[in-house]
Amino acid sequence: MVTATETKKVQIEIFRQDTPESTPYWEKFEVNYRPNMNVISALMEIRRNPVNADGKATTPVAWDMSCLEEVCGACSMVINGKPRQSCSALIDQLVQPIKLAPMKTFPVVRDLQVDRTRMFDSLKKVKAWVPIDGSYDLGEGPRMPERKRQWAYELSKCMTCGVCLEACPNVNSGASFMGPAPLSQVRLFNAHPTGSMNKDERLNAIMGDGGLANCGNAQNCVVACPKGIPLTTSIAALNRDTTVQMFKNFFGSDHMVD
């Protein structure tokens, strides 16, 4: 029984790194338990009183967060060996000591904070948007069938959190693979009635350096994605689309998008 005098403690071990280049090290912490705590509230507890488990004063731990409801993707980190969002990781459901580490697939900025710029660069590279800018009003686009809209909505849930890149064996510092998330966005925007008007551009972009062909079908991404996005189905579907695009490119067809 936990009494008022002896508070239950939460054991946390954090893989810390002071600067992008410095050597990382493990530091242990103990924070007072409160009901319904999540990893972020435990980290906030450490920030309030930056003293490690040996009772020594230390620097507050750095991490990223924003929405606190698993929709922005900023707070992703490796928790007990699995990449996931720290805001939705409940202390009661985690084995202690809870081990927190940054997603090493990305450059570490500091402690648990990583730089996910490569994901945003990939989204730019694959043109993950619907181009409608121009000098006059283009009017309404074609309608999207409702059932297709519901399906596309699932793909649109991606929050660029980086968990699928961290899970993929082929995304690492020795390879240029952009990873599953931007690929699935190509499928989303190619399925959009207006977006599909530029689908050849997106397909050609993922047929370049670091693109689709780097996938080796380990299929960890689809297991790891917190949003349940059918990433491996998207990849296989894009494999078919790029097969067709490859023949169009090769045999010099003048049909660009249809």
Binding site: A167, G208, A236, T242
Partner: protein, 203 residues
């Protein structure tokens, strides 16, 4: 090799794994199976294969060149992965790793196998026939090495068919990919039985 052309190199790698290398491996195992019908039947079958017209051209264009491209590019692919089975212990993650391990083992096995058989025949030191294989496989270590080699090849080919189907966008839905897993499992078992039975026929 330019990274911008990566897509085409990877598709070529995938295609060559099936046509012609995969087809050759299947054919090779089936012809070897004549060994189960006795020395004479095997010598006749392998003699026929070895006496095909333009055999050296067939070997170069159907076996050596495609296999070498697939193998060397395969080594590059295998070493660019950072495997993480302790994090995701799923079947597909293990098969992904096994595909790479068997591929690398096959480089060693095939190099040794070609040296010991075809190369010896080419320099006129030996003749490829039943006795040659019986002699090689009389060493229990060699028999073990050959069994592992054959099973690596059948696994790599069967699992390769699975990933070929995904790489070209043929199997897309999780269900179709699951069915392909069962079908390729049957292919793996069937080819393994054919291959290992043939080996055992020499001892």
């Amino acid at each position: 090799m330019s990274k911008d052309r990566e897509f085409y190199w990877r598709r070529l790698h995938s295609l060559l794994g099936i046509i012609p290398v995969g087809l050759f491996v299947a054919q090779h195992l089936v012809v070897n199976h004549f060994a189960t019908r006795g020395e004479e039947a095997f010598n006749k079958a392998s003699g026929f294969m070895g006496s095909l017209p333009f055999v050296i051209l067939l070997e170069i264009f159907i076996i050596y060149l495609p296999l070498m491209f697939h193998a060397f590019y395969g080594i590059y692919i295998a070493f660019t992965a950072k495997n993480n089975p302790q994090r995701y212990g799923t079947l597909r993650n293990y098969l992904f790793i096994l595909q790479r391990i068997t591929g690398i083992f096959l480089v060693v096995f095939i190099a040794w196998h070609v040296f010991e058989t075809r190369f010896q025949a080419a320099i006129g030191a030996k003749e490829v026939n039943f006795n040659m294989m019986a002699e090689i496989l009389s060493n229990p270590w060699m028999l073990g090495f050959y069994i592992v080699g054959v099973i690596s090849a059948t696994f790599h080919l069967a699992n390769g068919i699975w990933s070929f189907l995904v790489s070209w966008g043929i199997t897309q839905s999780p269900q179709s990919q699951r069915i392909a897993t069962y079908v390729t499992l049957v292919i793996f078992l069937a080819l393994s039985v054919v291959g290992v039975q043939a080996l055992l026929a020499f001892v």
